[in-house]
């Protein structure tokens, strides 16, 4: 039994400070053992595709920022859909955002890839709970 909740987490966020904060919180609260960061969705997609092609272990948790230049979180998810179909795995995916927009809230609830939209700053305890609640869905 691992002492971390998940093995491998991907942080996709253009904001350096938020990536720093999330990394530290995930480590400290023993949520993810290994964490890899991307500052944009495109590089993250390329990386995921590469992993799937090589048969390498894929992340089991993804924290995805909503507002990013070029490719925002929802745009990322359109491509991610294909990746999920091909790689036949389903990481826990959370959208993490400072948005207060009701439209974003509804869109994220309607998106089947998003377990939940989490408000920044991240509340590690809440993240842990929701991962636990969803462990059977995986």
């Amino acid at each position: 039994m691992s002492d971390f909740q998940v093995e491998y987490c991907l942080l996709i966020d253009d904001n350096l400070v938020d990536r720093f904060v999330h990394r530290r919180l995930l480590e400290h609260h023993k949520i993810a053992r290994t964490i890899k960061e991307f500052d944009n969705g495109k590089d993250a997609l390329d990386y995921l595709t590469e992993l799937a092609r090589n048969g390498s272990p894929v992340p089991d948790l993804i924290l995805l920022d909503l507002m990013m230049p070029e490719m925002d979180g929802f745009e990322f998810l359109k491509h991610y859909e294909l990746w999920v179909q091909r790689s036949k795995v389903r990481p826990y995916l959370f959208m993490v955002s400072s948005t207060e927009d009701d439209h974003d809230l509804r869109r994220s609830r309607d998106n089947r890839h998003i377990i939940k939209l989490l408000r920044k700053p991240l509340v590690p305890k809440l993240l842990k709970e929701v991962i636990d609640q969803n462990s059977d869905l995986k």
Partner: protein
């Protein structure tokens, strides 16, 4: 008299079936005004469309269409030009009727004099000009108002991102910093930034509520409460809350989802903010009674309660109780505004030390939805 650009004379259209009348009218006024003439309504309409005259004269007696009928048709499509009827004394009843219904501005009896027409033109143009200026002012104000709202909204949104980053950094500091003095400093940073966060969120809620667009969605109470808890501001997170929920659902609940959420968010945030100092967690009882016509929501907290003197005032903008953790003074004002936009109501029963119980009534929009 209204000052106007001398290089741009007033544009006038004159409609009359007798070409002689048109010629003499044009001869009399073409030096001072830009005069267009037409001997049938079809031509008149195409001139109105292309030349946009500010003042239109029409003879009343014409073979196919009367002047009043013509003006009535013009008014539907081109409301701006000022309409003046030229007529003999014989059609008094028609004319009075047309003036009363607003089809024409005034009438001039035949035979007309040049001076009379000139005064009529100048006065009509004054009216035209004033109306136009007023309309421009209204358009300007609406535009400014919309821009201001959008500006406040986008600024608030943009402010939230760095605020959230700072709050995140403070969380990291709570993990990594052991020095007592620094811990205390970071606590103060945390408190201040929380206040800022709440203020910014209140401004966003205030803006959302000011928008008229109301959409009625089916409200799933479980989802609603989950959203409310999820969107609690950082300082008021669900860790500080014990919530008991009871739902008595006798009908489907349709309503303005986001306004309902705003109302509950603020009441629950307040319950957390105003818990008794000895309480570890705020305790809130949420009670939904969903009927066909209306939805009653009771929000009962077990916090410090509200002073009798304050009960009347808590829903006012920028009112603050004299407490340790003063908020922005916007929260309950937004609650009240949101409810009035939904056609709902709120009242509160409270005494100091005994907590507060808010009763909210919202019309259930289930019927409207089915129509």
């Amino acid at each position: 008299m209204t000052p106007r650009n001398s290089t741009k004379p007033i544009r006038i259209l004159y409609l009359d079936d007798e070409d002689n009348n048109l010629r003499s009218f044009k001869a009399a006024f073409r030096r001072e005004y830009e005069v267009y003439t037409a001997n049938n309504t079809e031509d008149a309409f195409s001139i109105i469309k292309s030349q946009k005259p500010q003042v239109i004269f029409s003879d009343q007696r014409m073979p196919v269409t009367s002047g009043v009928e013509f003006f009535n048709a013009v008014r539907q499509v081109f409301p701006e030009p000022v309409r003046i009827l030229i007529t003999g004394f014989t059609d008094v009843n028609d004319i009075i009727d047309a003036i009363n219904k607003g089809h024409i501005y005034r009438y001039i009896t035949k035979p007309w004099s040049e001076a009379e027409i000139k005064v009529a033109i100048e006065n009509a143009y004054d009216l035209y000009h004033t109306r136009r200026q007023l309309q421009e002012k209204i358009d300007d104000l609406e535009k400014t108002n919309n821009e201001l709202n959008r500006f406040v909204y986008s600024v608030s949104h943009d402010l939230r991102a760095p605020i959230a980053s700072v709050l995140g950094l403070v969380k990291v500091s709570q993990i990594d910093i052991k020095d007592e003095a620094s811990i205390q400093l970071f606590d103060k940073v945390d408190q201040s930034v929380h206040k800022l966060d709440i203020l910014v969120n209140n401004i966003i809620d205030y803006y959302k509520n000011s928008k008229a667009t109301e959409e009625y969605l089916e409200v799933d109470v479980d989802n609603l409460v989950e959203d409310v808890l999820n969107q609690l501001h950082s300082g008021e997170s669900r860790e500080n809350l014990t919530l008991q929920k009871a739902v008595d659902q006798n009908a489907r609940f349709f309503g303005d989802y986001f306004r309902v959420r705003i109302v509950l968010s603020h009441l629950i945030a307040n319950a957390i903010k105003f818990k008794k100092p000895e309480q570890l967690r705020a305790q809130v009882d949420l009670n939904f009674e969903i009927g066909e016509d209306q939805v009653l929501i009771k929000v009962k907290d077990h916090g410090v309660g509200i002073l009798q003197d304050h009960v009347e005032q808590i829903f006012k903008m920028f009112f603050r109780g004299k407490d340790q953790m003063a908020g922005s003074g916007l929260g309950l004002y937004i609650v009240k505004e949101a409810l009035s936009k939904m056609g709902g109501s709120i009242d509160v029963q409270s005494s100091p030390g005994k907590g507060a119980e808010f009763h909210i009534v919202i019309p259930n929009m289930v019927q409207q939805e089915n129509e």
